[in-house]
């Protein structure tokens, strides 16, 4: 009988962030692919973040004398290594500028979408009842329209699209998967013993939610957010590729650089390097983001591991 009591008391103790992090790291260390891709991703994002400091200020200047036909990639350690584009701008510098914008909007959109998803999913799962049903039906309703059509429509509605606007539009659609998994997790956690114990000790709803439910759902939230990052980058690049997002002349992103390069030159045949740089970088980022997402999911949910 004594054991039941201790069990209840231990179980009622909230999960502290320190404890969960000491559990996360050893598990993540056993996922070499995820670890490596995580570091590559961080390295790429850091380079993208400090891009304005490292690229030469004259790089975006147009040089009509040095058009792309005469300037293929040259194997020298200079900014000319990836050649120049149709109006003589350095492709490497343009790619880094695109990375700077793309990572800003992707990270912002992922963060906002996760926050919205946790708020709505958490509220819905904790409250249950008609509020839950209505919120989830709303999510279903948004979910039946293909993301591309709805996002393209929203993009045209809010023209001219700027980077913050684009992040908000993406976040307003992509919170749905986060909300679904958070809701499912909170719904199962809500009825567990440690929550009942906390409630019987007189804890308020707010305390139960923030001190007991959210920390225990943190694995689910982290998995959802890392998975979402890859999707956000992919969808954003797709919309930018069609030239419907932010214009490449003003704000280069990886997607619109690829799209622009392919529209301006005869795609692969001549001047392939004007878009191959951003394309390769985009693929590397996506590979890393997907591997990281899967690795984190495997690390945090051991039963899923193979």
């Amino acid at each position: 009988m004594a054991s039941v009591e201790t069990q209840a008391v231990t179980a009622a103790r909230p999960v502290h962030s320190r404890r969960s992090s000491t559990r996360l790291w050893p598990r993540l260390l056993r996922q070499p692919a995820a670890l490596v891709s995580g570091f590559v991703l961080i390295a790429i994002f850091v380079i993208g973040a400090i891009e304005p400091q490292i690229t030469p200020t004259s790089a975006s200047r147009i040089h009509l004398g040095s058009q792309f036909i005469d300037n293929p990639p040259a194997f020298s350690l200079s900014w000319h290594i990836l050649g120049t584009d149709g109006i003589g701008r350095l492709v490497l510098v343009r790619t880094l500028e695109g990375l700077h914008t793309s990572e800003q909007s992707a990270l912002a959109a992922t963060l906002i979408a996760t926050l919205i998803g946790v708020a709505i999913g958490g509220f819905s799962g904790y409250r249950g009842g008609s509020a839950d049903a209505m919120l989830m039906r709303f999510a279903d309703m948004l979910g039946i329209f293909p993301a591309l059509l709805l996002l393209l429509a929203a993009y045209t509605y809010f023209t001219p699209v700027t980077v913050p606007k684009a992040s908000l539009i993406l976040a307003c659609y992509l919170w749905i998967p986060v909300a679904r998994v958070v809701r499912a997790e909170i719904t199962t956690l809500r009825d567990r013993e440690f929550v009942q114990a906390a409630r019987s000790l007189g804890a308020s709803d707010r305390r139960i939610f923030f001190r007991h439910l959210l920390p225990n759902a943190s694995a689910t939230i982290i998995i959802a957010a890392t998975t979402l990052l890859g999707q956000v980058i992919m969808i954003e690049a797709l919309i930018e590729f069609f030239g419907l997002g932010v214009p490449a002349e003003i704000t280069p992103t990886l997607g619109n650089l690829i799209g622009d390069g392919q529209r301006n030159v005869l795609a692969l045949a001549w001047g392939w390097w004007t878009w191959a740089g951003p394309a390769v970088l985009l693929v590397i980022i996506l590979v890393c983001a997907n591997l990281l997402g899967d690795g984190v999911a495997d690390a945090l949910r051991p039963q899923r591991q193979r």
Partner: protein
């Protein structure tokens, strides 16, 4: 596979598969229609306030006009494209549907054997290779795969690749893509009868393969994971203990049960496949929903013709309707595959 087919379909004379199916279907269809109607109303209200033909009207009145025109089809057909819209959108819908069907066939034909082989040889170099490849192809954005496939395998004038497939367009359509000299170009004939079918498949082959590429890896990974769960289950041990050959154990016992996990995953990914199909459709100029939709938006973004909210809502209706139908089909399949999921 013959064995597999016999196990999935209900045996003749066994009617216990279907009780309650009618009511279930009716409820699902009614709910789907309701969700579609509410969603489309929301979209219409959103877009009608900014785009023609009703943006000058007060919103309530605009909505009433749209609602009143729904039963007769005026609300779908009366926009700026008056009259042409229904036929144009109808054929676009057919083309997108055909692209999706061909793609799904390719995905299933390749990913199911791949998943079976890698699950049966867990941890082997083959398994590892399939996993690596599936990650690699999944990370290539669909527009990139499409343009590279187009340049590498399409018949593009002055191209460097293997000229195996048509570059853009649908059988009988006049292509107007990059690099085509419009003055010296004769529109190809669409052919008749079987010839037409062949030409259509010829034009569809490359887009469908490019679209299938990423999803083959993804679906193979899902099915492999579901198969591994099934192969660890007690009934597989029993089947092996009975002395059944491994082929029968995997195909008849494991796959049959893994499908109950795999089908919902495939259905929930249908939205992704559909979205990618819209992009492919635009890049290859197949004249499906994607081309229709993006072309009309494109003009708006350039500032030529403002978009028509009627056309927009119609495109969303077609896309949403297809998604609802697929999700119902998925639930029916799950109903047949896994008795445990049936509501009492």
């Amino acid at each position: 596979m013959a064995l597999l087919g016999r196990r999935i379909l209900p045996a003749p004379g066994r009617t216990d598969m279907m009780p309650g199916m009618g009511g279930f279907l009716l409820r699902r269809v009614a709910f789907g229609l309701l969700v579609l109607f509410v969603g489309l109303s929301g979209c219409f209200l959103f877009f009608a306030s900014k785009y023609p033909p009703l943006y000058y009207e007060p919103l309530g009145h605009a909505y009433w006009v749209w609602l009143r025109g729904l039963p007769s089809g005026h609300s779908l057909n009366d926009g700026l494209l008056a009259g042409h819209q229904l036929s144009a959108v109808g054929s676009a819908f057919g083309r997108t549907l055909l692209l999706l069907v061909v793609t799904l066939v390719i995905v299933l034909l390749i990913s199911v054997p791949l998943a079976c082989l890698s699950a049966a040889n867990r941890g082997s170099p083959f398994d590892f290779l399939v996993r690596c490849l599936s990650y690699a192809v999944w990370a290539v954005p669909v527009f990139l795969a499409a343009t590279i496939g187009q340049e590498g395998l399409g018949r593009v004038p002055g191209g460097w690749g293997l000229p195996w497939f048509p570059y853009v367009g649908w059988a009988g359509d006049c292509p107007n893509g990059q690099g085509i000299d419009e003055h010296n170009f004769q529109c190809p004939s669409g052919g008749h009868g079987l010839n037409h079918v062949g030409l259509v498949l010829d034009h569809l082959a490359l887009p469908a393969m490019v679209l299938a590429l990423g999803f083959i890896g993804l679906q193979a990974r899902y099915l492999r994971s579901a198969l591994l769960d099934a192969l660890d289950a007690p009934y597989v041990t029993v089947a092996r203990a009975k002395g059944l050959p491994e082929r029968v154990v995997v195909l008849r016992h494991a796959v049959r049960n893994a499908l109950a996990t795999f089908v919902p995953a495939l259905v929930s990914d249908f939205g992704l496949i559909f979205g990618a199909a819209l992009a492919i459709d635009f890049i290859f100029q197949l004249g499906g929903i994607g081309s229709l939709f993006i072309n009309s938006l494109k003009l708006n973004a350039e500032g030529f013709v403002p978009i028509d909210s009627y056309a927009l809502v119609f495109a969303l209706l077609l896309a949403g309707g297809l998604m609802v139908i697929v999700s119902i089909l998925g639930e029916v399949a799950l109903w047949m595959l896994d008795p445990r999921t049936r509501p009492d």
